[in-house]
Amino acid sequence: MKNDLAFKRRLRIRQLQGSSFKVLFLSASLIGIFALAILLVDVLKDGIGWLDWQFITSYPSRKPQEAGILSALFGTLWVMVLTALFSFPVGVGAAIYLEEYAPDNRLRRFIQTNINNLAGVPSIVYGLLGLTLFVQALAMGRSVLAGALTLTLMSLPVIIIAAQEAIRSVPEAHRFGAHALGASRWQVVRHIVLPSALPGVLTGTILAMSRAIGEAAPMIAISALVYLTFIPISPLDRFTVLPIQIFNWVSRPQEEFWHLAAAGIIVLLIVLLSMNAVAILLRNRYQKRTEE
């Protein structure tokens, strides 16, 4: 009887603990979202008043009222297009090799471990690599090309890992069917595996690209200080990108420049969010098709 009472009291405490921890866990997962909301509201509040056509179409300037992000916007577009051109084929090629060709031997495991480690290398180290290898040793100067190649090396591991997952999700039976009809390995890859893995590969690539485009650290190592009043017209021109321009404005002591930085952040976030939206649309279409 006494034991029963003790158990009941204990049970009530346990249940109370359970429900209070549920609230605790829920609020923990809301903290991140809450912080995201504050961040977005803060940026919008600071920057929206400074975001106008003049801001988009002007070059940076010493006077905050006249400053804009034209050169940074075009620099970002340049770097984005070149990086995509370099990293997509190489990344997909490496993923195809690892998933479809490589025998399960030491070399394959070594490459795989290596890719996992490269994905964890700090971005500033890639900046040092780009500065030493592309800017100095290969004499590309602080050019768009050097920046794009650096971002390519940085985003490749992420793209390869995403592409591998997409390729792995293609059912084995499809490959066997094509092989049974006499298709060669490459024909199977080209006509069976790639078409059905493509949406997943594209989604992963776009997400990796949007991560790379937002990176400021390696770009600062490549491009250094910025006061560019021209748009790069060849891959060998000097350049600046949105994250560098934003960094530059935030690091100034005058508050007017902080507003410019906030306006620049809004533009950067719009670019990144639209890339993410495309990736999500692709993923949804793909998921629907596999369900059919």
């Binding site: 346990r14 603990q17 359970g18 921890f21 549920k22 866990f25 829920l26 923990a28 997962s29 991140g32 979202i33 912080a35 995201l36 961040l39 803060d42 940026v43 190489v90 990344g91 090629g93 490496a94 195809i96 090799y97 690892l98 060709y101 490589a102 490459i111 471990t113 290596n114 890719i115 480690n117 490269l118 964890g120 290398v121 700090p122 971005s123 500033i124 180290v125 040092l128 690599l129 490749l156 390995r185 490459w186 997400l207 991560r211 937002g214 990176e215 400021a216 650290a217 200080l225 994250p243 960094f247 935030v250 690091s251 930085a261 906030a262 952040i265 950067l268 976030l269 990144l272 999500i280």
Partner: protein
């Protein structure tokens, strides 16, 4: 008549088998060329690693030929740009540890709790809203977090600690913690979701509450994934650059006081990259020595987390 027909049939067969053979040998050639191209793509990753290691070692060798390794690792004063020069890296390492430590103190409990919520409590509909929002948090560029730390979090903190300086480790560390919450939470959640249902059901069958199942059954079973998440997040915090470059200051200082201005290894590299330090000088080579140390530290942590997962993974 018959013979000529047979003959012509024979030549057709010969011809077609010849062309088939030609096609086959062409296919074989194409296959091997393609295979080699794909292999080259995969090998690029190895060349990247070699490139990073060689670049860092060669350039850091230029530095260590003028500064002794012992001074570098044991010196407690970092002042390469002033006379007399000091090349003790400990203040930079201390700054890195301080901000990363604050970040982990924020991210680990919050990330773990939200992983438990998402994997053990949340209904599918809630999960489908919360997870993408956390993914957005992970996708915000770090320079934006730097802006947020400097222009929003620091003024708020200054209301609480009136004598705090504008550039301080606390604000940068807190915001960095928010940045790595999604990483901790999604990696730990993956580990928890992988715990088989039968373990949970057995615990429920013994009368455990949901909390007891989560903390005494699921978490211990997923511990290898959780530890890996913790280490990867820490390594990410070590390498994080823009938040600390913008908000934590540029005064290398060996301190445990989070209200003070410090400098991390990454922020130092950025400072030199931005400045006018001439190439070839000892001051300039410092960024490679610091970069090498940073690379080795994060690499060891990544390798350790992979080894730990392999070693301690529970197989069901």
């Amino acid at each position: 008549m018959l013979r000529s027909y047979v003959n012509s049939a024979k030549t057709t067969v010969d011809k077609s088998s010849l062309s088939l053979r030609r096609v086959r040998s062409q296919t074989r050639l194409r296959e091997s060329v393609i295979q080699r191209l794909l292999l080259a793509c995969a090998l690029l990753s190895i060349f990247t690693t070699i490139g990073i290691v060689v670049m860092l070692l060669v350039q850091a060798a230029g530095f260590f030929s003028e500064v002794s390794i012992l001074d570098f690792f044991t010196g407690t004063k970092w002042a390469p740009l002033f006379q007399p020069q000091h090349f003790g890296v400990l203040p930079l390492v201390g700054g890195t540890l301080l901000t990363a430590g604050i970040a982990i103190l924020v991210a680990l409990p919050i990330g773990l709790a939200s992983a438990i919520y998402l994997s053990e409590y949340a209904r599918d509909r809630v999960r489908r809203v919360v997870k993408p929002l956390l993914e957005i948090l992970a996708g915000i560029p770090t320079v934006v977090y730097g802006y947020f730390a400097l222009t929003f979090v620091t003024p708020v903190l200054q209301n609480i600690f009136p004598n705090m300086i504008v550039f301080n480790a606390l604000s940068a560390g807190l915001v960095m913690g928010v940045m790595i919450i999604p990483m901790v939470s999604s990696l730990s959640e993956d580990a928890m979701v992988a715990v088989p249902r039968s373990l949970r059901d057995a615990a429920y069958g013994l009368g455990a509450t949901r909390l007891e199942v989560a903390t005494r059954v699921v978490m211990p079973a997923a511990i290898s994934g959780i530890v890996a998440a913790f280490i990867l997040a820490l390594s990410r915090a070590f390498g994080e650059t823009m938040i600390v470059a913008l908000a934590a200051g540029s005064t290398p200082k060996l301190t445990l006081n989070p209200l003070e201005s410090i400098q991390t290894m990454t922020a130092y590299i950025v400072q030199i990259s931005l400045g006018e330090t001439p190439h070839g000088t000892t001051e300039y080579y410092t960024i490679y020595a610091v970069g090498l140390l940073l690379f080795v530290m994060t690499l060891l942590m990544n390798l350790f987390s992979q080894w730990f997962v392999r070693r301690h993974r529970e197989r069901y």
